[in-house]
């Protein structure tokens, strides 16, 4: 694991921004840290790169405790954040020239290619760049040294679709070479990029799993019945947002499997005529899981995951 976080706590006064956060990022993956506002994504990332000190617990990055991170480790970490403060009075060219000697593995060819691809104006002062250009600039300064880990904190926030696409394209082109840890609200973009996902809520990791597995297990279910539909009571914990319209029962199955889901539907609903299980976008999954997590429904679902019998009975 290139990043390992264990029981991480971060307290600001009386407020716990992180509450026993635990997760790991496999090497070579593109790990997306998602969660609602205030979930603790930025705090997690800033703690990982030693911008913040944890109140408790450990965060290891490149096998080093974040608190002991030295320039040697930082030479292998690229970091791009939406609110990163670059030295505005330097020009693009001057800043890249300044950074180059700090990285023993700086690749000038890659630098040139990035600058060309991202169309960075060399002579313009950084403070005169637009927000999108600044993010591009940060990216152009985070990749030429071929980092082992690239950390992106909400990199797409406030970007127009064109710039966003350019950035994603740039990242995808290099995705195989490095591990990416990305936090973002732009779930539709992450979808094509992330290989793993961690869902953060209230300073805790509610779940972490490979992207393929998540999209596989979440389905929008449309169950057409012979007669007027009603929401089963009690509702299985892994069925979310259940509602009945006419003779159709709709819900989100968060533990979908071809056979078991159908069997459960048939067991709970009489006169099932048709079951339509539709794949969900990451955004739909997020908007379904986020309120449930907020309301505590996912906590019982979590427990149920560990105890399949409880799931059945709930």
């Amino acid at each position: 694991m290139i990043v390992e976080v264990q029981d991480l706590w971060k307290r600001y006064g009386r407020f716990d921004a992180l509450r026993g956060l635990t997760f790991a990022v496999p090497e070579g993956s593109a790990f997306a840290l998602v969660g609602p506002n205030g979930a603790g994504k930025t705090t997690t990332i800033k703690t990982l790169v030693n911008l913040l000190r944890p109140s408790r617990g450990t965060a290891r990055i490149l096998d080093v405790d974040s608190r002991s991170m030295s320039p040697r480790e930082l030479a292998h970490i690229g970091y791009v954040s939406e609110n990163q403060e670059l030295p505005g009075r330097l020009t693009v060219e001057q800043y890249i020239d300044y950074l180059r000697p700090f990285y023993p593995r700086w690749d000038r060819t890659l630098e040139q290619s990035l600058r060309r691809d991202l169309q960075l104006p060399a002579a313009r002062k950084i403070r005169d760049l637009s927000h999108g250009m600044r993010i591009k600039m940060a990216l152009a300064c985070a990749l030429p040294f071929r980092p082992r880990l690239l950390i992106l904190d909400e990199p797409f926030a406030g970007l127009d679709p064109l710039v966003r696409d350019e950035l994603i394209e740039g990242l995808l082109r290099r995705a195989g070479e490095l591990t990416i840890l990305i936090s973002s609200h732009e779930l539709s973009e992450i979808e094509g990029l992330a290989t793993d996902i961690g869902f953060l809520h209230g300073g805790r990791m509610l779940f972490q799993e490979p992207m393929s597995q998540l999209t596989e297990r979440c389905r929008e279910m449309y169950v057409t019945l012979d007669s007027t539909a009603s929401v089963p009571d009690p509702l299985p914990a892994h069925w979310l947002q259940a509602r009945a319209v006419g003779n159709v029962l709709m819900f989100v199955e968060t533990q979908f499997s071809d056979d078991a889901s159908g069997e459960l539907v048939r067991a709970l609903c009489k006169g099932v005529r048709l079951i339509d299980a539709r794949p969900m976008t990451l955004r739909s999954i997020f908007t379904t899981l986020a309120p449930a997590a907020r309301d505590g429904a996912l906590s019982s679902f979590d427990a149920a995951q560990d105890d399949p019998e409880a799931l059945e009975g709930s």
Partner: protein, 524 residues
């Protein structure tokens, strides 16, 4: 290597300001050079502007890579914080202090002082500014991330400083060493505290980035530093003994109350309100001081004091005298005596020591027998060298004193004496206008500004010290007649005697059953 790389980056960003600061130093030096021995423009405000501009650039250079905060790009770059700190310190030394040092050096050379002396004075001045201003400013800058924050914090510091200047007066607290040669002790302790806290802040900030801890540390040191001057006199003297070992010696000098010498008698024609309470006062100073005393409703008594065991030619200065008046064991007044200075022409000397008593106390106890205790802290000055230069348009370089000139003022009433000296000025000088053929002298003028610090700490306005004195030879009001007047001026010279402090000692004088009213000044 990396510190230089970082320094180059900062230079690219700040060179216009560094150049402007260099020009400011150059122009200030040129203005002072043109002013010569008698500065006729607000030199100290200009020097303060130089210090302010220096501090601003120091803050700016640190803010190129601000320490507090979590958004700065440099924090996630493989930049060793040690290198960063070193780069900032190098920038300050080379690019902020360098030009200033150079202008000081050039000014010393342009005034005809030797290279070694000019360089030593420039270096001492620069070093002192580095320790007491730029390094604390560097540490201060690490506590803030933007100029706005720095400005607000600086305002807060100014408020603390103002509070320390104003509040003591409101509650009646005094700085015991103020205007004495021992003022360097609390100054040094304060600067040492500030410097130590600055070093600690730099370590805390560049190693751990604990901004609030560092801010608390800096603020505590600042407040503690400003409290130091309020330490009791005796504590300060003990600290002086520790810091400047060897300057305290036991002497055969004895100090006693000498009632046989009689009371203080004013000169013929002089009013009781025209008495010069303090040595070295000119007519204008006397009038102002007496006006102040009358406004306070205070009365001054003059006690005859005899000092024996002196070395002829030496000067005795009371750095402080504490007066305690008691009546039947109860203290009725405790305060400070007036300044006391004695030029010994013999082994014995007599002086009337002025003691100002608040009006209410005086009215109550003036006729009562009181026990009076005088606690003196003395410094003995030994004559170092004597020089003479023509009273009119004199120009002479005097080792240990400096390059001095004389000229008659525009009103034609005084000889102006002015000196330039790289580094520290002599602690004590006396001037006398002497008619060379007859050896007649006008009253001596003291240029004693005691400073017993064992280190060079001269900062303002630059590495050159300027000092001057006025020797009156004609009083247009006709009240005073001088032995050496205008007609003798062409054949007169200014005799300059420099003194150096040789030792400090304390003496206590106990006067039982004294009646204050017996020692008021009287008409002859």
């Amino acid at each position: 290597m990396m510190p230089l790389h970082i320094l180059k980056k900062d230079w690219k960003l700040l060179w216009p300001l560094v150049a402007a600061l260099g020009i400011l130093h150059g122009l200030a030096a040129l203005a002072r050079f043109n002013a010569g021995h008698f500065l006729n423009f607000p030199s100290v405000p200009l020097a303060l502007l130089q210090l302010l501009a220096t501090a601003t650039i120091v803050v700016l250079v640190v803010h190129q890579d601000p320490v507090p905060g979590v958004r700065q790009d440099w924090l996630v770059r493989p930049i060793a914080r040690r290198d960063l700190l070193l780069a900032k310190v190098l920038f300050v030394i080379l690019l902020v202090h360098g030009p200033w040092w150079m202008t000081d050096l050039i000014q010393g050379l342009a005034n005809g002082f030797p290279l070694g002396q000019s360089a030593a004075a420039a270096t001492a001045c620069s070093f002192w500014v580095l320790l007491t201003l730029t390094l604390p400013a560097l540490a201060f800058a690490t506590l803030t991330a933007t100029m706005t924050e720095a400005f607000v914090a600086a305002l807060a510091i100014c408020a603390i400083v103002l509070a320390f200047l104003i509040a003591p007066g409101l509650v009646g607290a005094a700085r015991p060493t103020a205007l004495t040669g021992f003022a360097w002790v609390p100054t040094l302790v304060r600067e040492a505290l500030l410097l130590a806290s600055a070093a600690a802040v730099l370590v805390v900030q560049y190693r751990w980035r604990r901004a609030w801890a560092a801010r608390a540390l800096f603020a505590t040191a600042l407040v503690a530093g400003f409290c130091v001057p309020f330490l009791p006199w005796a504590t300060t003297l003990r600290m002086e003994q520790l810091l400047a070992a060897g300057s305290w010696a036991d002497h055969d000098v004895a100090v006693a109350f000498a009632p046989v010498d009689g009371g203080f008698q004013v000169s013929p024609g002089q009013g009781l309100d025209d008495v010069a309470e303090k040595p070295g006062f000119g007519p204008a100073d006397v009038a102002a001081e007496n006006q102040r005393r009358r406004a306070e409703g205070a009365r001054t008594v003059f006690l005859p004091i005899r000092v024996s065991g002196l070395e002829p030619g030496s000067r005795l200065l009371a750095d402080r005298s504490e007066v305690t008046l008691s009546q039947r064991g109860h203290v009725v007044y405790r305060g400070r005596g007036n300044d006391l200075e004695l030029h010994a022409t013999n082994t014995d000397g007599a002086v009337h020591h002025g003691i100002r008593v608040p009006g209410a106390v005086y009215t109550r106890v003036q006729g009562e027998p009181l026990d009076l205790q005088l606690d003196y802290s003395f410094t003995l000055f030994r004559a170092d060298a004597t020089y003479a230069l023509p009273a009119r348009d004199g120009d002479q370089r005097m080792p240990g004193v400096g390059w001095c000139v004389t000229k008659v003022d525009d009103a034609g009433t005084r000889v102006m004496f002015g000196c330039l000296q790289p580094g520290e000025r002599p602690s004590c000088l006396t001037l006398a206008l002497e008619h060379t053929p007859t050896r007649q002298q006008n009253p001596e003028v003291s240029l004693c500004a005691p400073d017993y610090s064992p280190y060079p700490g001269h900062v303002l306005p630059d590495a050159l010290t300027r000092f001057s004195g006025r020797l009156p030879f004609y009083d247009p009001s006709g009240l005073v007649r001088y032995p050496v007047g205008g007609p003798q001026l062409a054949e007169s010279r200014v005799v300059v005697t420099s003194f150096r402090p040789s030792s400090h000692f304390v003496r206590r004088v106990l006067i039982p059953a004294v009646r204050l009213q017996d020692w008021e000044p009287r008409q002859p």
